[in-house]
């Protein structure tokens, strides 16, 4: 069995977990939850940069970087590929993968700021990152017909994880009540697509938790 080390609050971990579900690979991978309080001591043993997720292969070697892990896993099954093989479809999927990951990175940057001591928090940065998220959301809302059409790809998975991470961090109160991040107002079609996508077993099996 391969092992996936990750945390339930990490959207990049969730993306790989959803990917494994969509690729039908759970019979070959075991999810190993690294609790938040063990993160800084445990993860450097698995990855020099201390980031989740990490995939441990059957030979004990370890892979980092969620897009690379997903693409490796995609090579292990004979079903329809979630990284499309047709070049045009592939660039489209990778473009949405970058967008979804970009949303997560910006949400994380804003979220981290709120965990600094009060007098060290830079509210201008939180505002900047929130606007960056909002810009990505706007693009997805504009292109919803294009990217939601057709079978599930890595692009759709990453976009869903990005949208889900905004919602999750707003629910936990770890993202400021920035008006730009109210998806019901800003991106109703994207939100409706997400709520539908969220019903997929792969997503239900990898819900975000603190």
């Amino acid at each position: 069995m391969m092992k996936l080390y990750g945390s339930n609050g990490s959207p990049f971990t969730r993306k790989v977990r959803v990917f494994i579900g969509e690729a039908g690979l759970w019979d070959r991978v075991e999810y190993v939850l690294v609790p938040p309080n063990e993160f800084r001591t445990v993860m450097p043993k698995h990855s020099p940069l201390g980031k989740v997720p990490v995939l441990e292969l059957d030979d004990g070697s370890k892979m980092i970087d969620s897009p690379a892990i997903c693409e490796y896993l995609d090579s292990l099954h004979t079903g329809r590929k979630l990284f499309p093989e047709d070049p045009a479809e592939r660039w489209t999927a990778l473009r949405y993968l970058a967008l979804g990951d970009g949303i997560c990175e910006a949400v994380i940057a804003a979220f981290r700021e709120l965990y600094r001591p009060k007098d060290k928090q830079n509210t201008a940065l939180v505002d900047r990152e929130s606007k960056r998220v909002a810009n990505c959301v706007d693009l997805l809302e504009r292109e919803i017909d294009e990217f939601a059409a057709g079978p599930v790809t890595i692009g759709q998975i990453a976009a869903a994880i990005g949208v889900g991470h905004i919602i999750f961090r707003r629910q936990t109160g770890e993202l400021p009540e920035h008006p730009a991040l109210d998806l019901a107002i800003r991106a109703p079609r994207l939100l409706a697509w997400y709520e539908d996508f969220f019903q997929r077993p792969s997503m239900q099996n990898a819900k975000p938790e603190k």
Binding site: P48, W91, L99
Partner: protein, 209 residues
């Protein structure tokens, strides 16, 4: 196609080095911005994340994230592939992730030290990121003989650009890490002489902000 670029960006450098190594430079136009102000002016309308490098495609869409831009360029030539096929591809992708990951940590550290308003800076953030960089370099040192020496691929280029960024922005740290990573530094001193590296070497922009 049009690449939005800055001479100080190590991710931009990776794309430009790869373009020179693969002879694909003529496939796109390069818009070299010369300040953060130009960056803020020109990039967000094209790419919502606002980051560089970003490639404006012929259909007007933007492709962000330097690994994907590299892969796109690699698909446009028939020479030796920078993303090799076969079993070696995963090793190269891991080297790419490690090189970029080191750069990510280094940029977080320099962002804290240089760009963040002074009253909000925390030395603990800088120290933690540089600790991760040093662990990244530790992970590279045993890979030099098999994965770096004599090779040119996207992973090798990412590592070279990471080293180049450390040398450019954190020279004291870069110098201090040399003794613990003799093979890595010996390899880098040779690789950085390649024309693709020399022609893309970072330098301070005319207007820093």
């Amino acid at each position: 196609m049009k690449l939005y670029a800055r001479i100080v960006s190590p991710y931009t450098r990776k794309v430009r080095v790869l373009a020179k190594e693969t002879g694909t430079e003529a496939k796109f136009e390069t818009f070299m911005m010369s300040s953060a102000a130009e960056h803020r002016q020109f990039v967000p309308p094209l790419s919502p994340m606002g980051k560089i490098p970003v490639m404006e495609l012929d259909n007007g869409n933007a492709l962000a994230d330097s690994p994907y831009i590299c892969e796109l360029l690699d698909s446009l030539h028939n020479g030796p592939k920078m993303f090799p096929a076969g079993p070696e591809q995963w090793q190269v992708r891991q080297l790419l992730a490690l090189g970029d990951g080191i750069t990510d940590c280094a940029i977080t550290a320099t962002g804290e030290a240089r760009m963040r308003p002074e009253q909000f800076r925390e030395q603990s953030v800088i120290d933690f990121q540089l600790l991760k960089v040093s662990r990244g370099l530790d992970a590279l040192e045993p890979k030099v003989e098999n994965e770096l020496d004599g090779k040119v691929n996207v992973g090798v280029i990412a590592v070279a650009c990471a080293m180049g960024y450390l040398e450019f922005r954190i020279p004291d740290f870069f110098a201090a890490q040399r003794a613990a990573h003799p093979k890595l530094y010996a390899w880098y001193e040779v690789f950085k002489q390649r024309p693709s590296m020399v022609e893309t070497a970072p330098r301070d922009e005319v207007a820093p902000n």
